[in-house]
Symmetry: C2
Subunit: 194 residues, 2 copies
DNA sequence: TGAGAAACTGAGCAATAGTTCACATTCTTG
DNA sequence: CAAGAATGTGAACTATTGCTCAGTTTCTCA
């Protein structure tokens, strides 16, 4: 029932990494341009400019590629968030930057973000992706509780969900004014927390 | 590319309606219990307790069933929202009730709501479902602008997105205290609008 | 340089997908 | 009740799916 998720082999040559990356990025583009339902391994390979055989040398099945993509996206976001958390900025400044990071990540590829949001809830993420998720939420919690120590225990999750939703709906509606979006998110977050 | 969405025939006998309903409800249950990706017409028919032939007498393809399900869910919500809008309640009371209606609808079947949220963005909704969507957003806008005439033009959409996200994340996290959820949503909405 | 390791290929398999259609059953109505 | 209309059935067709494997190409390094 629950398929294996682990990558099949870690490449030792540089083209191995390139192939793996091409496959993951092909899935990302397909989710953006077409959607989750028509996604097939053969189409992934075609888009990646790689044979179907190569695809199965790196991933045991389709699910594993989706998980790899989620890991990739989450790692990028976590890197930014961790940097913000470890910076010497004031709590308020950290929250501002957190919002900026969220916008940067999600607004860049909104349809991808939307698709992955659904996939994350559906798929067996595996240990590594779950760990990323946990570290992300801990980092956000840490920052929120610096500025609002008495906030509701659900506050960090709520704030993240709200910001995600605002970015998503704004991007899907075709907005382009990121500054306006940022100030609406700020208002929502401080309105909720304060 | 864009498949036909229109129902194939409107039944004249009562069992026709029952079959159609069973098919739509089978999709709802499947999305809740399994997910979008493994959804197939044969599985839908099986769950509905109906032959595959019957399914294709009522719907031209799988997409059409999903659209019918979206229409059903949206109609239910719109009925409640319209009743709130047309009631004699105060603007503030209307907003309260709107939040209650959102919780009632989305929290009842959270995994279904999550799946449909994604499907709605992916599928060709057709005129009727788009019309429902439009009327829903007009009704919400009307209520919001009663209480907050000077709000940002994006406010109604933002508020709906925020509330949806809070309900979703709360439900998926397994919360059961609806009263606590309601008060967090109220805080978020008034925090953003006020 | 050459030989073994690493990476890549794509035809093709079994399973499953969406869908049709010839026929059976049930309902309605005069 | 009869007979046509409405509804229901499921075997079976074609296309597509996830995936394998025998073989080829490219790389590495002694």
């Amino acid at each position: 029932m629950v398929g294996n998720i682990e990558p099949r082999k870690r490449g030792r040559q540089s083209r191995a990494k390139a192939t793996e990356d091409a496959i993951v990025e092909a899935v990302a583009r397909f989710l953006e341009e077409v959607g989750l339902e028509p996604l097939t391994t053969n189409k992934i390979a075609e888009r990646a400019g790689v044979s179907i055989g190569s695809l199965y040398q790196y991933f045991p099945n389709k699910e594993a590629i989706l998980v790899a993509l989620i890991r990739r996206e989450r790692s990028l976001l976590l890197a930014d968030v961790a940097m913000i958390a470890d910076s010497g900025a004031s709590p308020q400044e950290k929250i501002e930057r957190l919002i900026g990071a969220g916008i940067k990540h999600q607004f860049a590829r909104p349809r991808l973000a939307l698709a992955l949001e659904y996939v994350e809830q559906t798929v067996n993420l595996g240990e590594e992706a779950q760990d990323l998720e946990r570290r992300l939420s801990e980092a956000v919690s840490g920052i929120v509780s610096l500025q609002f120590p008495d906030a509701d225990s659900h506050a960090p999750r709520d704030v993240v969900a709200m910001a995600q939703a605002l970015i998503n709906s704004s991007a899907m509606a075709g907005e382009t004014d990121l500054q306006a979006l940022r100030s609406r998110i700020t208002k929502a977050v401080y309105g909720y927390l304060g």
